[in-house]
């Protein structure tokens, strides 16, 4: 895959939303016109074939009865226009994809564009940090770009204005604010972009402003604890590859906590039972089941109080400091034993938002020598972390009328601040409020000025993705709306001329070029870095000195935390929705939560024990009341939840948002409290009451037990070490009536999935959606069990429902050699290819659904309706190489056949043989754990051949003799 530098001159002007129909593939409306596709980048009206199209459908409806029409010769051939580019552009060849490197939410990635239209995100495997890992939010970001709810340009008091007028008026107001002697605040989220930070510093200087970083859910407790412990206001950097033992207290590091793609990549690299280093051991102590907890070797369902008690116990055992624990002695001694055996090679982490707990955790890590081995604390000028206390003070200051102007960049405190009412009334006392929102949100509607900002893929920026690696953000499309990069707005307010691109380039040549080596000029360095997307440099950050400290007093403070009576209300983030800033993305809303398998909603998680005692069923609408907040949501009975804990996800209950996110669920940020110097995410207590109503949840899986069936095969590391075939001894005796009649030469495609490496993160599902134009069906249709995902992740529980073991199993079309679906289709819409793929021919399908019934894996998906493709802007994301499917058609995993064809063709064009790894499927590419392997099983040296030959390899439902081409490797737990 080749990467090209972004050509700044990608078209004469932007389309500004004047889209046209007919540039995507569609089985029924069969028009794809490469020139029409590129229309977005040129001027001029383009009225396609609408009249002719209706004629065509008329003919279709009339069917055979109008066949007499040609007799009279009056039929006309539908006129299709072919509109070329106006100007020459050597980099864009219609039908050939270009790839550009960029970054989204701190993850380096590659953006695939077709005819200059971003359509797909893949990980950038040049990055030393993420090594190609990419999460579901990154995958889905390309759809957010085409969000038709985005604002069309700057507004003042709701009225659209020109940028010049906007700049002038805002400048005047800011000047007045500066002169008023009151505070000017610029509020951003945590930033790790060196050039943005530099620019903001200049801005604060120019306007005497104060920069405050605010995150809805912050890592402030950890940052503050590091300040206390090591005098370093920085987050921890973890290296999971070096950890033999990982003890996590509630931290969902594989899902929502920290850089989960990187964490997953590193974590999974130590989960290979056949590696010489052996497997890492993962112990998770948490009150509610998280994605990370579901992957743990040992998982203990403990209340928040018990978790903290265990932390104190571990501290006491290791160092003798603090009051020690009062319960759970066995768990404490187990952890201590593991930690002592793996000094310097373990990790203790916690997501606790209490600063004192984090100090104790620091001390534990220090005591077992983990610093500068598995953990480092790196100070950097290029990173600014969120500060709960500063923002709390800022709100108070606003409330007191001491703030004259406030600029909200990419933050939405009116939604995600724990006391949004207080914030709203405070903000009303600020005379000049500026928002930089892309589309209206709870905060932007409070602002007088909205300096509509660009989407990341229309933006120049950089970011520090690790302590030593920089990643580029470059625009891959002209702004679709009349928005502007927020950095350029700041520049304009400062009276600076030029673009942010130029600003950044000069910043780079000043600050980073000297740190590089091997480049003749700063421009060479810039071009190479931009081409690769990432660059590693020394001296970007500096290690804090790890001095010894005594944690006794902090431990005492932890022990003295008071807990109210009632249910402990714990908040958490869902893997897809997280803080809710991307809540208007339908792909993310429809992505099933890896644990609950629920979509389109948040809900109150209760433990099976509590549910039994109070006769609550999944779907019962309950009211959860804390001291000053209450939500009414359906309940979900979730195994692995602590009895006196209930959990609600944040990210829902958006009141001002696009039509997708609006009024889905309820806002749980209000259960946050500001306490003990930080925002506490689990400090609320309350009561639960049934309302008597019922609201079925849109879950993609409702039966959670394997019923003792041989579906996920698993074993323990101890057994595996003795016998690599452990857990995989069963071998079905297969009998064929017919002699084999089909050659298996040439390429024979096969896939293998390592269940030990699959964490269930679901990044693959979004990747598949984007690659294959999979329809979004909405909440009701998911509740009707009609989701369209070609790839799903089955999640099964085993054992005690309070401490269940969890299994994740990606399930997709198994491409059976003896496929039961193929025999039964009357019209040959699904048949086998010579290279071993179960083909589905959409245009031949009449929709009997017989194939889906006869599929033992139930992976076929039927188009029950014509799913909504009316949002023409959102249709820009469609992959032009894959037909969209209309109603009445069966679809399923095609093994990314378009990628296979493209890979083969590429090799042929280059007059060479296909190499292993030339073709990567969408799910495989996006898997941060590298758990999916695909290739030609006839190639003996390929990775897939090794996987197929593994002792752990098996196929699901082998005894049916359908001979799947997708196989699995047994799950190994380190027990």
């Amino acid at each position: 895959m080749s990467k090209f530098e972004k050509n700044d001159n990608c078209g004469t002007s932007c389309g500004c939303g004047s889209q046209t129909e007919g540039y995507w593939q569609d089985v029924e409306n069969k028009v794809l016109d490469p020139q029409a596709v590129s229309k977005e980048f040129q001027d001029g009206e383009f009225d396609s074939f609408s009249v002719e199209k209706s004629r065509r459908s008329f003919l279709k409806i009339m069917g055979f009865s109008v066949t007499a029409l040609p007799l009279t010769g009056c039929i006309k051939i539908p006129v299709k226009k072919a509109i070329p580019y106006l100007h020459k552009n050597d980099t864009v060849i219609p039908g050939v994809a270009n790839w550009y490197a960029s970054t989204f939410k701190g993850v380096p990635l590659l953006v695939k564009t077709r005819e200059s239209r971003p359509i797909k995100i893949e990980g950038n495997d040049k990055s030393m940090t993420t090594m190609g890992g990419v999460g579901s939010q990154q995958q889905a970001s390309v759809l957010s770009l085409y969000d038709s709810n985005r604002l069309n340009g700057p507004t003042i008091s709701g009225a659209e204005v020109e940028w010049a007028e906007f700049d002038q008026k805002l400048k005047e107001d800011l000047k007045a604010a500066k002169e008023s002697g009151k505070e000017v605040l610029i509020i951003t989220p945590s930033i790790s972009s060196p050039s943005e930070i530099t620019l903001i510093k200049e801005f604060t200087k120019a306007y005497g402003a104060k920069h405050i970083a605010f995150d809805g859910t912050s890592d402030y407790s950890q940052v503050k604890a590091n300040e206390i412990s090591f005098n370093a206001k920085a987050k921890n950097s973890y290296d999971f590859t070096k950890a033999n033992v990982i003890v996590s207290f509630g931290a969902d590091f594989l899902g929502t906590w920290g850089n989960s793609s990187t964490n997953t990549k590193q974590y999974v690299s130590r989960r290979d039972p056949s590696s010489s280093e052996g497997m890492s051991r993962h112990i998770q102590i948490e009150p509610v089941m998280s994605l990370t907890g579901s992957n743990a070797d040992y998982r203990h369902t403990k209340s928040l109080k018990d978790s903290r008690d265990i932390i104190l116990g571990v501290l006491k055992s290791l160092t003798g400091e603090g009051p020690g624990n009062t319960s759970n002695n066995d768990i404490v001694s187990g952890i201590v034993k593991e930690l002592k055996a793996n000094k310097g090679k373990s990790l203790v982490i916690s997501n606790d938002s209490d600063i004192n707990v984090q100090v104790v955790i620091n001390k534990i890590n220090q005591a077992v020598g983990n610093y500068n081995s598995t953990i480092s604390v790196m100070k950097s000028d290029y990173k600014i972390c969120a500060d709960d206390m500063a923002f709390e003070q800022a709100v108070n200051s606003m409330n007191d009328g001491n703030v004259a102007a406030a600029l909200f960049v990419d933050v939405n405190p009116a939604y995600s601040f724990h006391n949004s009412k207080k914030f709203e009334s405070a903000v009303k006392k600020v005379s000049t409020v500026v928002s930089f929102a892309l589309s209206n949100d709870e905060t932007s509607v409070l602002a007088k000025y909205n300096a509509t900002a660009n989407h990341t893929f229309e933006t120049w920026s950089d970011s520090l993705v690790s302590d030593s690696e920089l990643s580029f953000t470059q625009p891959v499309i002209q702004p679709l709306f009349g928005s502007r990069m927020y950095t350029e707005t700041l520049m304009s307010l400062m009276g600076k001329s030029g673009s942010f691109h130029d600003y950044m380039k000069s910043f780079w040549s000043k600050d980073f070029y000297p740190k590089s080596s091997g480049f003749a000029t700063a421009t060479d360095f810039w071009n190479k870095s931009l081409h690769d997307g990432v660059v590693s440099l020394d001296g970007l950050s500096k290690a804090a000195s790890i001095s010894s400290m005594n944690a006794s007093s902090y431990a005492k403070k932890v022990a003295s935390i008071e807990y109210s009576s009632g249910l402990n209300i714990v908040t958490y983030q869902k893997t897809a929705i997280m803080d809710g800033d991307m809540a208007n993305n339908p792909w993310l809303q429809e992505l099933p939560d890896p644990i609950t398998k629920a979509t389109w909603d948040n809900y109150v998680m209760v433990s099976p024990m509590y549910a039994k005692e109070n006769s609550i069923k999944t779907g019962d609408v309950v009211t959860l009341k804390s001291k000053d907040h209450s939500v009414t949501l359906p309940a979900i009975v979730q195994p692995g939840t602590e009895k006196n804990t209930v959990a609600v996800a944040v990210g829902y209950g958006r009141k001002v948002a696009g039509k997708v996110a609006r009024n889905l669920g309820e806002n749980a940020f209000a259960f946050y409290t500001y306490n003990r110097g930080a925002t506490q995410t689990a400090d609320s207590f309350g009561t639960l009451a049934k309302t008597g109503k019922f609201k079925g949840l849109a879950q993609t899986q409702t039966h959670h037990s394997m019923e003792g069936r041989d579906i996920v095969r698993e074993t323990t590391f101890a057994d595996y070490s003795k016998n690599p075939k452990a857990g995989n001894e069963k071998k079905a005796k297969l009998v064929n009536i017919y002699p084999p009649d089909h050659k298996k030469d040439g390429h024979q495609w096969a896939m293998a999935i390592d269940l030990t490496k699959c964490t269930g993160c679901s990044s693959c599902i979004i990747s598949c959606n984007a690659e294959n134009n999979v329809s979004v069906v909405g909440r009701q249709e998911v509740a009707n069990r009609r989701e369209m995902h070609w790839l799903r992740i089955d999640r099964y529980y085993k054992g005690d429902e309070n401490q269940p073991e969890v299994m994740h199993m990606p399930m997709l079309c198994q491409h059976c050699e003896n496929a039961p679906c193929e025999n039964v289709c009357p019209v040959m819409a699904t048949v086998h290819s010579s290279d071993g793929i179960n083909q589905q021919v959409y245009n031949r399908c009449v929709g009997t659904r017989y194939c889906a019934n006869n599929c033992p894996y139930k992976v076929r998906r039927f188009n029950w309706f014509n799913y909504d493709r009316s949002d023409k802007l959102a249709n820009m994301v469609l992959n032009p190489d894959v037909s969209t499917r209309t109603r009445g058609i069966m679809e399923k995993c095609s093994m990314c056949i378009q990628r296979i064809q493209e890979g083969k063709l590429q090799a042929k064009r280059e007059r060479r043989d296909l190499k292993d790894g030339d073709i990567k499927l969408a799910c495989q590419q996006s898997c941060p754990g590298d758990g999916i392997v695909f290739g030609d099983m006839n190639d003996k040296d390929s990775k897939i051949a090794a996987f197929l030959g593994s002792d752990r390899n098996y196929t699901v439902l082998e005894e049916l003799n359908v001979r799947p081409r997708v196989s699995y490797l047994t799950k190994v737990r380190n027990k």
Binding site: Y738, D741, H742, E822, M828, V831
Partner: protein, 174 residues
């Protein structure tokens, strides 16, 4: 083609059967007997040749069978071989249901067509009806006038219980 026929009307199936036996015994050819329902043994008594319909059925059925089987075989082995769920191209069991059904289909419809053709029955045909009651409760015997002595025949038929015997000029070929 009108001709003179001796037309005898009976009111009882037994009687017309006996009469037929008597007439045939006298070596007189009966042109036809029109009855409201099939009178058992009447066709044998009249000496009607066995129907060729069974042979038509056999031939058509065999044709259907060979056509259906060879077509399926040709499609999957010669015209466009396709791999369906790993089954061999020549998977005979799969071809049997359609072969059977097509055998029956062609056999049945060809036989019906042959039946209609032999008896010259077709929609809209206007047959010669001697007495409208011949499809209700009258049994009507028609004998070519030239094939027998009308008076003797009349007597014989009256003797056998014919309620009426007369000579009519009719076109019975339709």
């Amino acid at each position: 083609m009108k001709k003179d026929y001796v037309i005898a009307t009976f009111e009882c199936d037994e009687k017309v059967l006996h009469a037929t036996e008597k007439v045939v015994a006298k070596n007189i050819d009966i042109y036809d007997i029109y009855t409201p329902f099939p009178v058992h043994g009447l066709d044998e008594a009249m000496g009607i040749k066995r129907s060729i319909l069974p042979y038509v059925t056999l031939l058509a059925g065999l044709t259907g069978m060979i056509l259906a089987f060879s077509f399926q075989m040709w499609v999957f082995n010669i015209s466009w071989p396709v791999n369906f769920g790993g089954k061999p191209f020549m998977s005979v069991p799969s071809f049997l249901p359609i072969t059977f059904e097509f055998t029956v289909l062609l056999g049945a419809h060809t036989t019906v067509a042959a039946f209609l053709a032999i008896n010259k029955l077709f929609p809209g045909k206007q047959p010669t009806i001697i007495d409208p009651a011949q499809t209700e409760d009258k049994f009507i015997m028609a004998i070519d006038k030239e094939k027998a002595n009308v008076d003797d025949l009349t007597n014989l038929l009256k003797e056998q219980g014919a309620v009426q015997v007369e000579v009519q000029n009719l076109d019975l070929s339709i």
